[in-house]
Symmetry: C2
Subunit: 406 residues, 2 copies
């Protein structure tokens, strides 16, 4: 139900980047299902992809193309993942890139393909090829929101956000869009997210910025613990802004850009959780006082992926024993349970490993009734911390995924 998200997308156009959508008949019921993002020549691009060994054909091809040239186009379809499709899947992904390149007057490696949808079915290449000429003519700078809608699968709402900053006194815009909403548990990269900026950035700096921002945003969310075969996050920098080119990741301008980009990535990542399949609540799991970040993340993920914890949130039931049990099984070395405190928002539920003396069921219920809740687990072992965002597990999650293909 898209916790705390608005249907109103006010996305800032990015100079040097145009977008278009079309219905290519990939879904049985016609809807826009094919998108194109075009960047002017001379821009730089960076992307991160899923670590799933069964990565989809478009992921393999996009990686190859990215290694060979400077991307001009992202060609994205919904309704079909082109994953688990073997050699033919690779041929199909290459064919649509070649088809677009011929029409657009560029080389195939300048086209990056992306797919999302059902796994194991072949891409309707002919339908896509037929749609490409009209797709190219549909390109416009204010196409971001339309594109955000066209890449949706089980998402209930389109997701995007924009930011404007100043670099060397010159305005720079960033706009990003993303889709979820199931098979979300990123490792290294996630889902589909496309971010554009008119900043002028050297490719290695862009890479460093994207990786660092993804690590703290998309890689910190989970809906169902399942890492997709198709995850990808792309950052396009058109260079249309007129500040001095950023060629040093440590420069102040790079830091300013990183800060804005991080906000965009975090907002998009959280949007995906807020619209997680069947989600009725947005949960922040914050673990503090671990010895290192990895240890904190162990606990974050044990709690954020526990079906029992997630159903308790769905039921607004302060069954905090499930949070304690998930913490206990997370695998933290030498966990001293007598030093563990757990909070729901500002309410202390566990102190020194047992029910907090001041805790009342009524106080717990008041917090659990909220649609956005912070679970804070204090380990008492060190000074590291980590945060993961997730949603509850509802009967609708099961219904959505039981009915997905029918």
């Amino acid at each position: 139900m898209a916790v705390g998200l608005s249907a109103d997308l006010n996305l800032v156009p990015i100079n040097g980047i145009r977008l278009g959508v079309i219905s290519a008949g990939i879904y049985r019921t016609p809807r826009p299902d094919l998108c194109l993002i075009e960047m002017v020549p001379g821009g730089t691009a960076s992307a991160v992809f899923t670590t799933n060994a069964f990565c989809a054909a478009p992921v393999t091809v996009a990686r190859e193309h990215l290694a060979r040239g400077r991307p001009r186009y992202c060609l994205i379809n919904a309704g079909n993942a082109n994953a688990g499709t073997g050699a033919r899947g690779l041929r199909d992904a290459r064919a649509i890139c070649a088809g677009l390149a011929a029409l657009a007057g560029c080389t195939p490696p300048e086209v990056l393909p992306f797919s999302t949808g059902v796994i194991g079915e072949h891409l309707p290449v002919d339908g896509i090829a037929t749609a490409l000429p009209a797709l190219l003519t549909s390109l416009r700078t204010d196409g971001w929101a339309e594109c955000a809608r066209a890449i949706m699968t089980t998402d209930t709402i389109a997701k995007g956000c924009s930011a404007t900053i100043e670099i060397a006194g010159r305005p720079v815009n960033i706009t990003g869009i993303a889709k979820g909403a199931g098979m979300i548990h990123p490792r290294m990269a996630t889902l589909l997210a496309f971010i554009g900026t008119d900043a002028r950035v050297e490719a290695p700096v862009l890479d460093a910025l994207l990786r660092s921002c993804v690590s703290d945003s998309f890689n910190r969310i989970t809906v169902d613990g399942d890492t997709s075969t198709n995850d990808a996050c792309v950052l396009l920098a058109s260079g249309a802004a007129d500040h001095p080119r950023i060629d040093d990741a440590g420069a102040a301008a790079a830091m300013d850009l990183r800060h804005a980009l991080s906000t965009i990535c975090t907002t998009l990542a959280q949007s995906i959780v807020r619209d997680g399949e069947g989600a009725t609540k947005f949960i922040t799991v914050r673990v503090e006082q671990g010895r290192d970040e990895a240890e904190c993340l162990l606990v974050c993920h044990a709690v954020a992926t526990s079906p029992l914890v997630k159903t308790a949130f769905f039921a607004s039931d302060p069954n905090w024993g499930r949070i304690l049990a998930a913490t206990g099984r997370a695998g933290v070395r030498d966990l001293d349970v007598e030093r563990v405190d757990i909070f729901l928002d500002d309410i202390c539920i566990v102190s020194g490993g047992a029910r907090c003396a001041t805790y009342t069921e009524q106080a717990g219920q008041e917090v659990m009734a909220r649609s956005e809740i912070v679970v804070r687990i204090v380990l008492g072992l060190g000074s590291a911390s980590a945060t993961v965002w997730t949603c509850d597990l509802s009967t609708d999650y099961v219904s959505i995924n039981a009915d997905y293909r029918s």
Copy 2:
């Protein structure tokens, strides 16, 4: 709905072991909720417990008592886990052991306490103490089935099984009971299971037998990926049979006993999955041709805990891409997807990493409609294999856990 389980429990009494149950008012609605298992003096016992750092107070106390003496009694309550209860929880567990010991004429360390139910509430010690005298008088050798019913929480059916073997030409009986049905994802031990035998076995041999059998049975099941705070599996050997005492784990008699015990453990473990919360299907996940068992188990657990795979089984939807995606994210080093084959029962769905040429949606649907299904994943990397049993994820799982405390 207890896939393939019968409500008829024909459990063989074990000479030297008696059981009793009573309603001690732990549940608001009266029902038998307190059980006692008594073993004659001179028997041996072994137990394995949860690895959850937040283990329940009775687990801590049972471990202490087991280290100090030879158990005569297992005192088990349902309806309250006595976990997350801190120092008072430990005092409570010790108090009921002392109370029983005083009445039964033994020492407190000869009593092992066990609890299952809601986490974080204090044990109603007074009600339990009041019920102990009548509980002691209720002991009888044919109390196994009654005891199996009294330890149920969200279980829909009581679970138990028996076996009779011959050792040195003399009959030996084994009977076991167990309860699930949620927070099931064992590490080292699991849930509550009590197994009795009249075999004459030295304690170290009994330990070795139990650990080896639990490793291949209870530690190979998962309902929801959540390892409980209270898991325990106890093996009591009364020694009432009259074969020569078994004092060597490598002896033929020990191997015979191990074989029968392994069958009992596997049947009980599978029963817990068959009656997993909301379960409508019993799924065997078998991974073959890994380099070692650990690698195979990585894939087993990724598939068996994937919410997307489990909802597909619930829907009888041959959405095999989800199995492929879970295999791909399991973390197998250098997985060569082009060597991976996947089968649903006898149907090849993935061959060489892509949809099998002979696969048809109809064939997939026929398998998925079954209530018991084997998923077989062939990695093509080595000669190790492993098996994990699980159930599907249904809307009922969420409802059961959303409503558990209300």
